[in-house]
């Protein structure tokens, strides 16, 4: 084998084609990150799980609404919107894993050294990765939302439960799904870039998503300040963007809850801070 490859080496190298405008650009880093992103199986598994979760949960709502034959009321309209948004609970798990793995996968395999050797300024590579992840998450969560709408629409017809896309509040709650899911994915990505370890990053992210709100509801039984402080926790705040008819995500809107936009803004703030920490660490640390 080598005896045949050797002559190839001696003849091909000098003639190596060099594109006229070759060199490192941000656009090319994005193209590279897109190739990396789509060439891993874990990407497609996590995205399929996210979509499946969103559509599956909507189906459960749709079938449930139809079977129980509820009559039209404000509460039932809430049920229709909730049926479309509630899938985020499943999707956020898959997308958090995806967000974390996008960066920790490079550290655990050593790929990061190849990545940074090609992009030694480092931060452009981080932003390129972030951009690809953001675009994919936005697109996939919109697709998930649209599919959920399409599969539940026939089930809702004739039940009296409607989803009024002309209603500002409905639209805000629905658009909240991609916003919230993107924020969660980026939070997982930032934590991944800080922790640089898959299991650690995923556990930390899931802890913030699932354990922190639970701790505050437990504390709420005993101390009066718990709900007030708990409202400022990342996911509790972020979920407000999907609130509709007194329900925000998996919880109730309370007196202490932030407004939808303040809530998602706060979650975005957490994400920006985490990304800033990740960026500083990425520049400083040895790869």
């Amino acid at each position: 084998m080598s005896t045949t490859t050797l002559p190839a080496a001696t003849t091909t190298l000098p003639a190596a084609p060099r594109p006229a405008r070759s060199g490192l650009t941000f656009g090319r880093l994005v193209a590279s990150e897109w190739i990396k992103f789509r060439s891993l199986r874990s990407t497609w598994w996590t995205l399929a799980f996210a979509l499946g979760g969103m559509v599956g949960i909507s189906l459960i709502f749709g079938i449930g609404i139809r079977a129980s034959a509820v009559s039209a009321s404000d509460e039932d309209s809430m049920l229709g919107v909730l049926g479309l948004t509630f899938g985020y609970t499943a999707a956020q798990l898959a997308l958090a894993v995806l967000g974390a793995l996008t960066i920790t996968g490079e550290y655990s395999t050593g790929m990061i050294r190849s990545t940074l050797a090609a992009a030694p300024r480092r931060l452009p590579a981080l932003w390129a990765k972030l951009l690809v992840l953001t675009m994919v998450t936005v697109v996939v969560s919109f697709i998930g939302l649209a599919l959920s709408y399409l599969v539940t629409l026939p089930l809702l017809s004739g039940t009296g439960v409607t989803v009024d896309l002309g209603n500002d509040e409905t639209v805000r709650a629905l658009l909240g799904v991609p916003l919230y899911l993107t924020a969660i994915t980026l939070m997982a990505f930032a934590i991944g870039a800080i922790v640089r370890h898959s299991a650690g990053a995923i556990t930390t992210t899931l802890g913030i998503m699932l354990v922190v709100p639970m701790v505050f509801s437990i504390l709420g039984i005993f101390v009066s300040w718990a709900p007030r402080v708990g409202a400022y926790m990342p996911t509790t705040a972020g979920e407000q963007i999907m609130s509709f008819g007194g329900i925000a995500g998996a919880g109730m809107v309370s007196d202490y809850s932030l407004s939808p936009w303040a809530g998602i803004g706060l979650l975005g703030g957490y994400v920006v801070v985490l990304l800033a920490v990740a960026a500083v660490l990425m520049r400083r640390r040895d790869a």
Binding site: M1, S2, T3, T5, L6, A8, A9, T10, T12, L13, P14, A16, P17, R18, P19, R21, S22, G23, L24, T25, R28, L29, A31, S32, E33, I35, K36, S39, L40, R41, S42, G105, E106, T109, G110, M111, I112, R113, S114, L116, A117, A118, A119, P120, R121, R284, D286, A287
Partner: protein, 319 residues
């Protein structure tokens, strides 16, 4: 051209690289030799900006690596055969690396062909053998057709064919005027491949010279003498630069003199010699004596026949 000045790397209290300065010239293969943990890999990682030096600096073609506009066209680095995502195919890995610099698909195909990966390019890297991983690492390094190549243990895990291929490849690349910096702990491999050698031990440069000089300097001139009159001969040979060691009665190893001088000395005193053999040292010997911290220039005879000096002979090929 790679230039390091006072390059230092400390991890906590441990100093991995201790203020080393060296330059790697274009047009030759420069070997970077040292025992495990000597600081070879750390130095190479600092060259390509993966590790930040604690002190000092290192430049490639006159600039820090991070300031290169087209890093993959300037430097091709194989730092670790495992610097690849195991879930991705070799072809996709190379395509992603190529995309960062707008390197075309044709070049990706070329390096796949060149490194003998065509048969496995579509397979995921996780299933690769160490040798295949090395080939992929070398393919990545060659992708940008770089002027400088930095290869950390490139023959590690390769079969004999692969070793020969790497040797010919790096010699060819150097002959084209490229800078080739190659680390290895295999002295014999270095003897066959490198023109110039930088020896590092405990984070410091121990030697930085052409291969022949390293061999010559470390060994001096050792001559094996077998004589029934060992005691008298030692008395006659005694001198400031001469070391004599003996491992068995009647067998002397004389360093710092020549076979001719020893023969004449013996003849003048009418001492019988049964053997008078100049020992051609191998690079292995040179390396061992250079890295042996406490026992410099002390010839430790093992009683085993000295390895054939063929390796030292081959290194003196023209460059």
């Amino acid at each position: 051209m790679i230039e390091a000045r006072g390059l230092t790397k400390r991890y906590g209290s441990k100093t991995a690289v201790d203020g080393i300065s060296f330059s790697v010239q274009p047009g030759k293969v420069t070997g970077f030799l040292g025992p495990n943990g000597a600081g070879k890999s750390t130095t190479m990682r600092m060259i390509v900006g993966l590790d930040r030096p604690t002190a000092g600096s290192v430049t490639v073609n006159g600039r820090p690596y991070a300031e290169l506009r087209e890093p993959l066209h300037e430097v091709g680095a194989l730092l670790d055969a495992k610097a690849v995502h195991t879930g991705r195919s070799a072809a996709n890995h190379l395509a992603a690396m190529a995309a960062t610099h707008g390197i075309g698909k044709a070049r990706v195909r070329d390096v796949i062909e060149m490194t003998g990966l065509a048969g496995v390019a579509k397979k995921r890297v996780g299933g690769f053998s160490l040798g295949m991983g090395q080939r992929l690492g070398i393919a990545s390094a060659l992708l940008g057709d770089p002027r400088t190549l930095i290869l950390d243990e490139p023959v590690n895990g390769l079969d004999p064919e692969g070793v020969l291929w790497v040797r010919n490849l790096v010699r060819f690349l150097a002959s084209e005027g490229r800078t080739v910096f190659l680390s290895s702990h295999l002295m014999s491999e270095m003897a066959l491949t490198a023109d110039h050698i930088i020896v590092i031990g405990r984070g410091r440069i121990i030697a930085d010279a052409p291969v022949q000089d390293i061999v010559a300097r470390a060994t001096g001139t050792t001559v094996r003498v077998r004589t029934p009159h060992a005691t008298q001969l030692v008395e006659l040979l005694r001198g400031p630069d001469i070391t004599v060691s003996t491992s068995e009665p009647g067998l002397l190893e004389v360093t710092g003199s020549t076979a001719a001088t020893i023969g004449e000395t013996a003849a003048a005193a009418q001492l019988v010699l049964h053997e008078l053999t100049p020992i051609a040292a191998s690079l292995e010997d040179a390396y061992m004596s250079l890295t042996a911290d406490s026992v410099e220039y002390h010839s430790t005879s093992t009683g085993l026949p000295t390895p054939v000096g063929a390796s030292a002979g081959v290194t003196s090929e023209e460059n």
